[in-house]
Symmetry: C2
Subunit: 328 residues, 2 copies
């Protein structure tokens, strides 16, 4: 197929992701046109590069396409935004087969349909290294959930579980890994879920939020830095899938390190005011139910941005690269 035939093929795949009203012009012109949004615009772009962000020997192309799409959507979730549309820019090597492109596009289209974010345009280019660059456009009330609003005394929550995707990747990379219970971790890595409904519910009440793409310590560190605060985390409260610690140990991975520094969970870390705001008790209660409380925001004292302790209040240190960003 030539470039135009490939575009036509993707256009067909993405058409199934476009039942949405408000798309005035989709793929096929110089640009896409969307009806004027009802709220402010939220814009983000994310690239997934072959051999850097994904490996074709660990997942099929549909999975790779869907994961790249969900990683981009996760940034909208972290802003509390409602996804509106996406653009897909692919750089493809000559050797990439038409059938592979069809699978990649199918994975993107399925993720787009699942999360209500139709692909309305894109770009195909030739290159030596495959990459998937996804632009996502959403809408939000006000400025949405920023990283910079956490205040001393706020409580820190995280949705879902931590470290599951990182452990899933370890399991995938382990030849003949057939340990009982591996499936749910591999599935977490394969099929990340951008926390869009959670972000929408949090936008009215959370003081700050970020998604966990590079590991809790790194991403919470960004939140603390943007807010000019520090965090204290009780590591005994970090949420995990059943069997996480045992399976991690069995594969030589300290579970705490995976939970703190493992990437690609795409959960939301968010902060809630400790005091019950007048008239917003219900929003606060909902926000509390959406995640697990893991710590609190404290004043930055110029040393560690994130202090870890266990259930007995004893300080905990964790070796590993993710932590070095924030250690003293």
């Amino acid at each position: 197929m030539d470039e135009f035939e490939r575009i036509a093929q993707l256009r067909t795949a993405f058409a199934s992701s476009q039942p949405v009203a408000g798309i005035l012009l989709g793929i096929g012109d110089d640009a896409a046109v969307l009806a004027r949004p009802a709220h402010n615009l939220v814009l983000s772009v994310d690239a997934a590069v072959d051999g850097v962000h994904f490996r074709a020997d660990l997942a099929d192309w549909a999975t790779i396409g869907a994961r790249a799409f969900c990683a981009a959507l996760s940034d909208l979730a972290a802003m509390g935004a409602q996804p509106r549309a996406a653009l897909s820019a692919l750089i493809l090597p000559e050797s990439f087969a038409d059938a592979e492109l069809a699978e990649l596009g199918r994975g993107q289209a399925e993720a787009a349909a699942r999360h209500g974010c139709p692909v309305v345009g894109g770009n195909l280019a030739r290159g030596t290294q495959l990459s998937i660059t996804t632009t996502v456009i959403g809408e939000v009330e006000g400025v949405g959930l920023t990283r910079g609003g956490a205040r001393v005394g706020d409580e820190i929550y995280v949705t879902g579980v931590l470290g599951a995707a990182a452990l899933g990747l370890v399991l995938l990379e382990t030849p003949a890994s057939a340990l009982s219970g591996a499936g749910s971790f591999v599935s977490r890595w394969r099929n990340p879920t951008p926390r869009i409904p959670e972000g929408r519910a949090l936008v009215a009440i959370a003081s700050a939020a970020i998604d966990v793409s590079d590991g809790l310590l790194q991403d919470l560190g960004h939140l603390c830095s943007a807010s000019g605060v520090a965090a204290v985390i009780d590591v005994s409260t970090l949420p995990a899938l059943p069997g996480f610690a045992e399976l991690a140990h069995a594969h030589g991975q300290p579970p705490l390190r995976l939970a703190l520094t493992g990437g690609e969970d795409y959960e939301l870390v968010y902060t809630l005011p400790a005091s019950r705001p007048a008239g917003r008790a219900e929003a606060l209660a909902t926000a509390q139910r959406l995640g697990t409380r893991i710590g609190k925001i404290v004043a930055a004292d110029g040393s560690d941005a994130i202090v870890l302790h266990d259930a007995q209040g004893q300080l905990v240190t964790v070796p590993g690269r993710g932590y070095r960003h924030f250690g003293g």
Copy 2:
């Protein structure tokens, strides 16, 4: 510099391109936030890949950055859209120096400032081949200028001149090219101008438009295909810079082929109703003054989408790849 330092450096460069009201949140959070637009949204993405779309031996990094930015903006111009904001996703090899990145970002920022399209976000990724993927967001009344609205009898116009950028590239690639008059062509290649004001003026009156990124024949062919029509072009009317034919001949390039198939002019080809629409004579006259009339739209007869003739009405055939797409 690590990734975060590089982002901080680019953030500073792009800050100068952000004097614009309506940016509620710029670079540095999970996403950018723009105030609700007044009109419909226009979205496009374009990638420039090292060795495919640009060569570092032919231009400095600021020029490469600016050209990539303008190529993306040209799609907004072709829609008649007013640029609003841009996102820059860079894939950079390990060897790419901090100073080179600073220059690349400066070129992008200068183009952004020149055309009123601030860079509000982006992404940095590691890869083996440098690429610059630019998302542009604009606003337009209605669906803007599409490719699909040309009707039989419409007159075909093009802004500016054709083939100048392609000849400029030939001159750049010719060692020790010091022929008189080369500068203006090289400058056309180096500093393309997306036709944004022209697109804005045309949006109220033109029946169809496309930008000339891949050569007149190819891009006008897309317009004809989308509109279900064909075109007759009088090649004697194709606008050119002074000295174009002589300089092209001197470098072994048939000037007509350059004008018809040379890419990267980023002019607009547009169609205007031949009959004077009631109450819109002034808009039509303005639209006519913005370009040169080069032909007319005729009914598609299933053979050539674009028929070329000379001033005497004799059919003209042009060898070259751009033409093969459309020849019988």
